[in-house]
Amino acid sequence: MTQNEQAARKKKIMHVVMWIVLLVLFIVFIAPFILVVINVFKTKGDITADPLSLIGAHGFTLKNFPEAMKKMNFWLVFMNSAIITISATVLTILVSAMASFVIVRNQKWTACALLFGAMVASMVIPFQVLMVPLVSVYGGTLGVLNHRLTLILMHVGFSVSMATFMFHGAIHTNIPLELEEAAYIDGCTRWQTFWKIVFPLLKPTIATVAIIDAMAFWNDYLLPSLILTKKNLYTIPIATQAFYGTYSTDIGLVMAALLLAMAPILILYVFLQKYIVEGVTSGAVKG
């Protein structure tokens, strides 16, 4: 065997070893989900008797789903989550793209510098610092809790700094000023220039912001739980928490509820996996 062949063989063995290590890690990573999936089709007694068997002694059952759906009010909370996530994401994108445009193109204005500086600085503030005053102002003084709109606007307010920061970077580096000047010469106003020239060019950043924010809004628990206390307004995470509090002993139903809570985003991930991973990566690296 020549040295080259030997090296190639060594490399191949290395790859096989690494592949096996990866596979084992992968199984460890998704094991909790697999456990939920196998147990969701068993009766309560079978899960307690043996949580690891593939099929319970009483056989395969689907009855956990309809019951959990009914008790959790699944379609209602799903719609609440969807309405809140979609509106807040769209609003965040529109509002922050517009703000970043005026900030990038007028950096010498005091208001722009002040706003941008405050936004960047505010990104380190954890939500825990804001939750008490938020509840006391909007719950106590203004009394606007228990409205979806309140939560939507709050989501936007919290995410606007990060999104503006990302759009700021995108406009600053990717959109040449000459392009806008050409539009002004052709008679566009600032408003038209932004919507017809700048905004369409921001598509990659829009996708990134949409993915990051939509995931954050969909999964957020603490803020919605403080704002929405009425059952008919619950989002999926709050409903899951409330469900667990009431039915934690009925483990079959819990399994179904957990799977239902995870299903929408997992299904979406199967189709948009490439975009989500890319979006999160570019968001993480720039942020």
Binding site: H15, L25, Q128, V132, V135, L153, Y244, L258, L266, V280
Partner: protein, 292 residues
């Protein structure tokens, strides 16, 4: 058009940045400032009046043993979680960038825990620890083994494990971007100069990825310090309030015991600790950064 008048500037600013400014001020800046004022009162969350008490809340916060225990616990938890998250994430990133078959599939798979909220993840793992782990351990030990969540140390270990599992996939993506940014030519040059692959990794790749380390460590510190969702669903502070983390303690003080002023003071202290640790880390990390 008069481009330089004040009214033009105000108009343009309001048109584009008006909505963003109003929402940002209303949700972040005003509550932040108002929160500082709240720490000077002994408000109970219900009464119309907010009695001014000066710095009494801070004094009380410093005397609140349970709070400092929670903060200490959070620090210990964070140290273990941050180190493990970064080791696991770096290892995963190394494996999924080594050119193995199906690496994109693995990359997508390791990211899955990040798609799901902490509340749901916590309950999933609660099932794993309480049922599956107990079943396996009992079968091995041929007797009944209690759930790891029922002991003080066990609950903390479980919290660390779940956090590592939850965040490693996210940090992996940052490390993957770091690996990709180091050009192969540099590694090849090092190998030609006689480096073993391990030496090339240690002396070339890792120093060039310093920015990724700084960022990942910063992100994991700031996330671990304010852990709440998983804490709530996985352990709920049990057994006997020995797994209550700082954020949960703040929540309980303010909303369960209705001590809004004290809770807010404790939240600000938590923020200060978290910010000092995070900024120090970034400062130390950035100081020795090498440019490629």
């Amino acid at each position: 058009m008069k481009r330089n008048t004040m009214s033009y500037k105000v108009q343009l600013f309001c048109m584009f940045a008006g909505a963003a400014s109003v929402l940002f001020l209303a949700v972040v800046i005003i509550p932040f400032i108002y929160g500082i004022y709240l720490t000077l009162t002994s408000w109970d969350g219900i009464a119309k009046t907010k009695p001014f008490v000066g710095l009494a809340n801070y004094v009380e916060a410093f005397k609140d043993v349970a709070y400092w225990q929670a903060l200490g616990r959070t620090a210990i938890y964070s140290i273990f979680a941050v180190i493990l998250i970064n080791i696991v994430a770096f290892a995963l990133a190394y494996l999924v960038t080594s050119g193995i078959k199906g690496q994109n599939f693995f990359r997508a798979g390791f990211f899955v825990p990040n798609l799901i909220g902490g509340i749901v993840l916590g309950y999933v793992w609660k099932f794993v620890f309480n049922r599956a782990f107990v079943a396996i351990a009992s079968a091995i030990a041929r007797g009944t083994v209690p759930s790891p969540l029922s002991t003080t140390t066990g609950a903390m270990v479980c919290l660390v494990l779940v956090s590592v599992w939850q965040f490693a996939g996210y940090m992996m993506l940052i490390y993957v971007a770091g690996f990709m940014s180091v050009s192969d030519a540099l590694k090849e040059a090092a190998m030609i100069d006689g480096c073993t692959p391990a030496q090339a990794m240690w002396n070339v790749t890792i120093p060039l990825m310093r920015a990724s380390f700084v960022q990942c460590i910063f992100l994991s510190i700031t996330r671990c310090f304010v852990i709440y969702d998983v804490n709530l669903s996985l352990t709920k502070g049990e057994p006997f309030n020995t797994s209550v983390m700082a954020a949960m303690h703040v929540y309980n003080t303010a909303f369960t015991y209705k001590k809004y002023g004290l809770g807010q003071a404790e939240a600000l202290i938590l923020f200060a600790v978290c910010a000092i640790v995070g900024v120090t880390q970034v400062y130390i990390g950035k100081k020795g950064e090498v440019a490629a």
